[in-house]
Amino acid sequence: MNAQPGVSLRDIKIMFGTVKVLEGLDLEVAPSEFLVLLGPSGCGKSTLLNAVAGLVEVRAGQIWIGGKNVTWEEPKDRGIAMVFQSYALYPRMTVRQNMSFGLKVAGTPAAEIERRVGEAAELLRIGPLLDRRPSELSGGQRQRVAIGRALVRKVGVYLFDEPLSNLDAQLRAELRVEIKRLHQQLGATMIYVTHDQIEALTLADRIAVMHSGVIQQLDTPARIYREPKNRFVASFVGSPAMNFIDGAISTQASAPVFEGGGLRIPLAGYVFAADVPAGPATLGIRPEHVTVGPAPSAFEAAVEIVEPMGADSLVWCRTPGGTAFSLRLSGEGGIRPGDRMPVSFPSAAVSLFAKADGARL
């Protein structure tokens, strides 16, 4: 299994009873790619992953893995392994039995099972736990075992279904790194479902942001972050969240100008996707892109709340027109509520969305 398999989803339609969950969905996952399916709960991302695994039937369309149409293959015949949010460890089996069950079912020789379990256990540092029952393990240990159970299958595609959602923040960060390391070591194709955008941004080669059964944007983390394709992606990705100001684009002057929230922001540095459209629009800017200090387009912002976050602070302000927004200041800066300071929105860093459909302009 030298060449890693890619995964290709073509025109997928999935229904639960009479309820349509996904329709006409296409997705190409390149070999060795780490693809994250990101979206709020109920967006269909887990369903899609289950379809790849063969745990949910598709009503129409095809699923290809490694150049083979596996649409109607059994899960075990698809060359995939899967890690679940609830770990899904078999409660009546020891860790060792859990990890070797799939291989035993497949009729793998005992020595080979032993070797692979040992390998995986070492990789995940769970060797001492092998003879325990799942109920005797902590959450982090359980998820390591669950990952170990996937690893021993030695497949080309690993599927992760919100694997870290049940863990506390510290363990989550720790295991995130672990998974990234695994991806680098194995070079396998991985599809990872999460609603946590930090996980998505840190792990993914590419992210597919999903909403209501539709992939909103499929791109590298950087581009998703910087050039969200629509208002939904913009608002869902990034923490703290992007600021939005409703207004309109005016093309009466020489250069287009955004007017809203009591501000006039020249858009000279903004690269429009197509012709400059005049009319109602929403301006988005991430807190860290707001600049503080005198500038030609600066305006006076009133500070309302300061949230110190250690390395930097999040400062909540209001525009002269009364629209609330946040900005990020490094250090503590000595800012207090009630202060006023000059602030500007650099046009190169903003995003503009059509008011009507939220699409990027």
């Binding site: 639960f16 009873g17 309820v19 369903t47 009503r59 649409t71 109607w72």
Partner: protein, 298 residues
């Protein structure tokens, strides 16, 4: 097996596993039910015949005092017994859930009646309730000469004695189901209620009991099934008497099936019971199945 039809191969195994159940349903259950319905349209007596008489048995049935009284009795018994067993079972479960001493002994005491058949426990009940040598006599012996407890010999009250024995028999099972439900409730609910200063009884009434929906459903189904099939208890305790005051439909079916060799009438009665059950149960099931389908999509 046929990729085109969108079925996984492994599902064939599921069908193989369902074969025994399907065979039982089709041959034993559906076959017998179909036969029963067919018999109800014939003039069969002790042995079945194929002499079609249309709805004659049903006409006879619904002109039969005993059948009409039986339905009436079952309605009263069913309502009181289900409500009674649920109430007593729930109370016992709540009481036992208060970390009482000797919990295991008490649980067994409340549960044991369910393990015994009515064939003779019915006789014990009959004796206890009989005014001339049971409880009434005992209490009068203590000096309360006017004490009256003769429900079992009075037509207007005999059905309540069946309810008492029925509750005695089934309350333990309800208790077990309710206790299981209570134990499954998150401790944090209790903590929250205590922090909010809600009295224990109020917590049960407003918060905990509404959370026992599934327990009530399970117990309700089991109790209803035993109500509809009620036979042994009525035979052993009162044999339907005095008069027709404690006759029930299942006993009507049984008596006409065997003792009275009237297969046609018995099957007409059984078919009527079946239609009633299906017409009550089917909409409930449909609603439940739909609710479940809504739940599973995610």
């Amino acid at each position: 097996m046929f990729a085109r039809f969108g079925r996984f191969r492994s599902r064939t195994a599921a069908w193989v596993a369902l074969l025994p159940a399907l065979a039982i349903i089709l041959v034993a259950h559906a076959g017998s039910t179909g036969w029963t319905i067919w018999m109800s349209f014939t003039s069969s007596r002790m042995l079945p015949n194929s002499n079609f008489v249309g709805l004659r048995q049903y006409v006879t049935l619904f002109n039969n005092d005993r059948w009409l009284v039986s339905i009436h009795n079952l309605a009263i018994f069913g309502t009181l017994m289900v409500v009674g067993a649920l109430a007593v079972g729930l109370l016992l479960a709540i009481a036992i859930d208060q970390r009482v001493r000797a919990e295991n002994v008490l649980r067994s005491v409340f549960l044991y009646p369910f393990s015994m058949s009515f064939v003779v426990t019915g006789l014990a009940w009959q004796w206890m309730l009989n005014p001339t040598h049971g409880i009434q006599k005992l209490v009068r012996g203590w000096g309360f000469a006017d004490f009256q407890f003769d429900w079992i010999v009075r037509q207007d009250t005999v059905i309540f004695t069946l309810v008492i024995a029925g509750v005695w028999h089934a309350a333990g099972l309800v208790m077990a189901i309710m206790l299981a439900g209570l134990r499954g409730i998150d401790d944090e609910i209790w903590k929250a209620a205590r922090v909010d200063g809600i009295p224990t009884w109020r917590t049960y009434a407003s918060i905990v009991i509404p959370m026992l929906g599934a327990s009530f459903a399970t117990a309700g189904i089991l109790l209803s099934a035993s109500v509809v099939r009620l036979y042994d208890l009525a035979v052993a305790m009162t044999n339907g008497g005095p008069g027709l005051a404690s006759e029930v439909p299942a006993k009507f079916v049984m008596d006409h099936l065997f003792e009275r060799g009237n297969l046609g009438l018995a099957t007409a009665a059984a078919t009527s019971m079946l239609i009633t059950v299906v017409s009550i149960a089917a909409p409930l099931f449909y609603a439940r199945a739909r609710a479940r389908a809504q739940e599973t999509r995610r």
